[in-house]
Every structure is written in C-alpha cells, then in structure tokens.
C-alpha cells in the first residue's frame, strides 16, 4: 500500500472527510465515488471516545472478536479478549506442514505438507463485494491473490454418464447453452412466441440466441468452427504448416439433460461466486495471524469460558485453561461482546433474557468436510492444463479444488480433495481421518488416474469433530430467522453477540465483520447514552 501521508488513499480520503464533516458526509462521498453501493459495509467505523476506563470483554478471537476488539481499542476502550485456542483466527484457519490437529474423539493428525503448501479447512475465498473483510485485509497488509471459481478446462463428472469419464466444463456449458438456444430459436421461428413477443423483439431474440448459443446461419448448434470457439477443437488452430483446425463433436441434448452435468453451470453465477474473488497469499489463516499480531497484548489464549454473568455492576466471565483445566479464573468488564459460536454458547451458563437464550438454543450447526491432499507433482497442470478452479462430481467428495498459487511450479501441490455438506459430511465425521482421506483418493482417482501414483500425504477436517466449533456454521431456516434472529442480535443488558451466526451472510467472514461492526456500534451508542 502507498504511504497515506504522501498520496492519500481513497480510504484515508474518506477518513479525512469523515473527521471534518461527519460520517454521513463520508458515506455520501463514498457513495458518489462508487465505493459503498455494493456492500452492507459502510466504510471504516469511527467511534467517539468513551468515558475514560470503560472496559469491554471480548469472547473469542475469531474474525468477529478481533474486529470488535480492534475497533473498541482504537476508540479508547480497555479491551481484553479470551480465546479457547492457542492461536488467533478461529475458523479463519490454514493447516501447514508440522501443524498438529486433534479432533473430538482423540484422532490426531500431524500435517506433513511441504513448506509453502497448505489447506484452508474453513473459509477460503473472498468475493470482491465483501468490502468489510477486504478493509481489514488491507489495513493489516495481508497480500491477496486471485481465486478462480470457474475453470472452463476443469471437469464435470458423473459416474453414471459418458462411461464415467469426466467432461470439460467448457464442453458442458457450450453444449447446454447451444442446444437450449437452438430449441428456443426453433420455437421462435415456428411462431410459438408470437403471442409473447413483438416481431421486432423476436428478431432481436434470434440474433441474441445465435450469439449466446454459438448457432450457425440456420440457427442450429452443431459440429462446426462456430461451436468449436466455445467447446474447443479436436485439432486446435496452429501456426505455419500445422494442420487445419478441426471442430469437436457436441454431445446430444438428450445426453446432456440426462447426465445432470448442467447443474454445474451455475457454479460461478451466484453473487458470491462471481469474479473477482480473492484469497490471501499463503492461506486464509494469514488474516487471523495478522489480526492476532496487531492485538497481541490483548488476547489471552487457551482460555475456556465456562460461565458468563452480568449484573448491575458489569460482566464477570469465568474460565479455565483449555488444555489442563485446573483453577477457575475470572475476567471482568463493564460490557461484553460474545462471539462464541452458538453451538458452544448454548452450553455455557449465561444470564441473558429468555428471547436471546431461545435464539442461541435454536440454531443447529452444519456438517462440512474438507480434505487436503499433497501430490508429488502438479499433474493436473502438467498433464491436463488445469490451473486453479474446481471439478464437480456426483461422488461423495463432490469437489476437487486445484491450488490457485504457484502455477507452473515444478514442485508439489495440494488439492482440495473433498468439500462436502449434508449427508456426505455427516458420514465423513463418523469415519476416521484416514478413512476420509482414502475416500477422497478413491473418488479422485476416477477423475485423475494419476492420483494413486502421485499421492503423498493428506489431512481431513470434519467440522462436527472440531472441538471449538462443533460444526462449520449456523444453519438458519427462514422460520428460525423470522422468530429468533433479531433476539439473537439484540443487546441484552451488558452483553451483545457477534459472529457469522449473528449475520445474514451465514458462514462468510463478511458476516463476521459486519456483525461485529454492527454490534460494536450499537454497544457504543448504549455506552454513550448510559
């Protein structure tokens, strides 16, 4: 980042406007400059100075807890953070070679990845419109690199179609769009849409379908150089006296429909998956580490919270050493921002009102599985020209994610060998780490025959077995939100909750950030009105 003292960055410009003219003016300036329109994140918050000595206890040093701690500290609060783990970040977490992870039930995995290799068991991508987490990433000088959601040369795979052979995403999308465009063009030309569209619109539609679906002059999708520009060639165009290019053969509409492979086409269409997407260089956990460093004196690690009590005088939190148990200790403050996941918090005595308690007790936590697999060489790049992105399959591993860093390096690489929710993730949690890895290898080998020969080592994280989370994220139903969400987020006496569970961006770090900022602002308002 440039030095703000010399060249004011946009952020520091906004801060200057905010300082002299107030936050409304700053927001207006940001909107005019096209910054604030896309995100609930309204730019850096600026809290006025609280009464001297006002203290806040933050429970949890995940993203939400550390955002809250940083903003409260900066405003002048006395802040203390209690964290169960021996590291900052919470679910913002990367596993590297040498890391040791023990799950519930006692299975211990020592990660044997080479230096530079890692897997993110939790969050692993940041969409461009998640301006809240991106603000802190930039503030903490964490370097970002592009994350590829859709790779047209990766595969879509079904064990039940096309002889169980994987199909390139490029071909699936081209064939499906092409066939649909041809059908719709046929309907249009056979006057089936005359009641719906004017003559002029029908002609425009035909032009658009020809373009969108790569149709020929007769509005047909077939084997020719037009469709080859979408789905690829049997012989690619070359130079000099290379052979003439030859188009590839589209798959039949009926086969495409029955294969189900079209379900993968939407992978990059949703708002959260659209380019640009980012990842921190060296693993998502770099954000948590940078936060932890910035807040170093404030965070007490290895602290297992066992009781939260508020009264007229303040908040008292009892905790023990998360490794050895032992002596009961207490921490006190005027106020408390609690970011402990509801899965854990529902088991901790805390004297809050019935509505908040009911909300905490209501929320189920999702199962999820991620498996990281290290291979001796990057065969997906060397043999198959797959650089980043994802392969989708109907097998129990569901996804293969290719590493999105160090492309073309001659060394090793770590694949995301499985990424599942629901049934597959429940089953994985009931299996040993070794079995989960074996399952991922078995599935992957049906797509990449190189798997068995090149595999070196792996690690498997089933989120229901994670001792400090008991699941990957809260699973809100529409009815649950309707009934409980506002009660979960409301300030209860001296206690306010924050985290992805207290957001409408479930399981996203942006939910943690925006939840923490909202909680801190409301708490601060309460303090100033006390």
């Amino acid at each position: 980042m440039s030095d703000p003292a010399q060249t004011p960055s946009r952020r520091s410009l906004f801060q200057m406007i905010g300082t002299v003219a107030g936050s409304a003016a700053m927001y207006h300036a940001m909107t005019v400059l096209g910054h604030a329109a896309e995100s609930p994140f309204n730019g850096p918050i600026k809290l006025s100075a609280p009464p001297p000595g006002t203290s806040v206890l933050v429970l949890g040093a995940g993203i939400a807890g550390m955002v809250a701690a940083m903003e409260l500290r900066d405003a002048g609060y006395r802040v203390q953070v209690l964290e169960y783990n021996n590291r900052p970040g919470g679910r913002n977490w990367s596993l590297y070679g040498g890391d040791v992870y023990t799950e519930l039930g006692g299975a211990t995995q020592t990660v044997r990845f080479d230096p530079g290799q890692y897997i993110n068991p939790g969050p692993w991508r940041i969409p461009y419109h998640h301006q809240g987490i991106l603000h802190y990433v930039n503030r903490l000088n964490v370097a970002l690199e592009p994350f590829t959601q859709v790779n047209y040369n990766a595969y879509v795979h079904s064990t039940k179609m096309f002889g169980g052979k994987p199909v390139r995403y490029r071909e699936v999308q081209a064939d499906f769009h092409g066939h649909v465009a041809e059908l719709l063009a046929k309907c249009t030309r056979q006057n089936a849409l005359d009641q719906t569209l004017s003559k002029e619109d029908r002609e425009l539609l035909l032009t658009a379908l020809k373009d969108w679906g790569a149709l020929d002059a007769n509005y047909e999708y077939g084997k020719n150089l037009i469709s080859a520009e979408r789905r690829g060639y049997d012989i690619d165009p070359g130079g000099g006296l290379d052979p003439e290019p030859a188009p590839s053969e589209p798959r039949a509409m009926s086969d495409m429909l029955r294969s189900g492979l079209w379900a993968a086409i939407g992978a990059g269409h949703s708002y959260d998956m659209q380019s640009s997407i980012f990842q921190p260089k060296g693993g998502m956990g770099q954000i948590g580490k940078a936060f932890g460093k910035a807040l170093e004196p404030l965070i007490q690690y290895n602290a297992k919270v066992i009781d939260i009590h508020q009264d007229a005088g303040g908040v008292t939190v009892a905790y023990v050493d998360s490794r050895s148990g032992g002596e009961r200790r207490t921490a006190t403050a005027d106020w408390c921002v609690c970011t402990i996941p509801a899965s854990i918090l529902s088991q901790i005595p805390m004297n809050v009102g019935g509505p908040m308690r009911a909300a905490i007790d209501h929320l189920p936590y999702m199962a999820s599985l991620k498996v990281g697999l290290q291979f001796k060489r990057r065969f997906w790049e060397e043999d198959e020209c797959i650089y980043g992105g994802h392969t989708y399959t109907n097998q129990s591993n569901r996804v293969i994610g290719y590493p999105m860093w160090d492309y073309f390096s001659k060394g090793k690489g770590v694949l995301l060998g499985a990424y599942t929710f629901g049934r597959e993730a429940f089953i994985a949690a009931a299996r040993s780490p070794e079995q989960r890895i074996e399952d991922a290898l078995e599935c992957g080998a049906r797509i990449h025959p190189q798997y068995r020969a090149e595999y070196e080592c792996g690690v498997a994280v089933a989120w229901h077995r994670v001792p400090w989370a008991l699941g990957c994220a809260g699973e809100w139903s529409d009815e649950g939100r309707e009934q409980h969400y506002n009660n979960l987020c409301a300030l209860d006496g001296r206690i306010i909750l924050a985290g992805e569970h207290a957001s409408r961006l479930a399981a996203w770090q942006e939910g943690s950030v925006t939840s923490a900022l909202d909680a801190v602002e409301r708490l601060h308002k309460r303090v100033m009105n006390a």
Partner: protein
Amino acid sequence: MIKIANGIAPRLSIAILLAALAPPARADTAAPAPEPRNPFEQQAGAEIYNGVCQGCHMPDARGASGAGAYPALARDRNLEIAAYPVAIVLKGQKAMPGFGNYFTDEQIANVVNYTRPRFGNHYRGKVPPADVKAMR
C-alpha cells in the same frame, strides 16, 4: 431407492444425481443447496449409528468434550422413554441438526431401537415406525 415417508415425494434416481451435482455451496464454508437433502442409505440400526451418529456421539457412545461437549448416549437415562430420542433425532436439539429430512420412519426407529439396549443402557421394548411417523 429409499422410500421417503415424510411427505417428500420419492425421487427418481436422476433427481438424486442432479442434486448431487448441484454446486456445493452458496456460502464460503457453507450454505448447502437448500433442498433436496439426500437421504442416507443405511437401514439397520447399527449401520446408522456407526455410519452417522458416532460422528458426534463417538463409537463408544460416550460423547466428547472440547470448548463444548457432545452428550453421551451411554448410560443415558434420557433413553428410557423411546419417544425422547425419537424426538431429538427428528427435530434436533440446540446445535444438533434434526434428521427428519434425512431418515425414514423405519430408519429412525431402527437406530433408536439399536441404542436403547446398548452402551450400558438396558431399556426394553421397540418403538415402531408408526410412532415416529406420528411425531413428525
């Protein structure tokens, strides 16, 4: 093909395949495709316990403890009345998700009937699938 008894129409195998291929998530670690949920294939109580339940309650049914805990089902007085575990499996409790959409009445009866006389519990009598259906 598993018959779903809870009002969800039995799905054709192709529908299951399509669901299986749906993009994995709408959120970062998360947000599963909302519906349909794929039912479990395990039928016998032992298969269901070992294939699913032990993920949290552990192979010996003694639960586990970290920042929070999973309750033991071993020597568990709550299993005395079969309707209690049936209700918990169907609807969930606190962070435990409900499995009503994942299991048939028969599957839930089977796994409850598997657990009640095991793991240091000695409760007699079997809950019939019809009782599970009535509690949905």
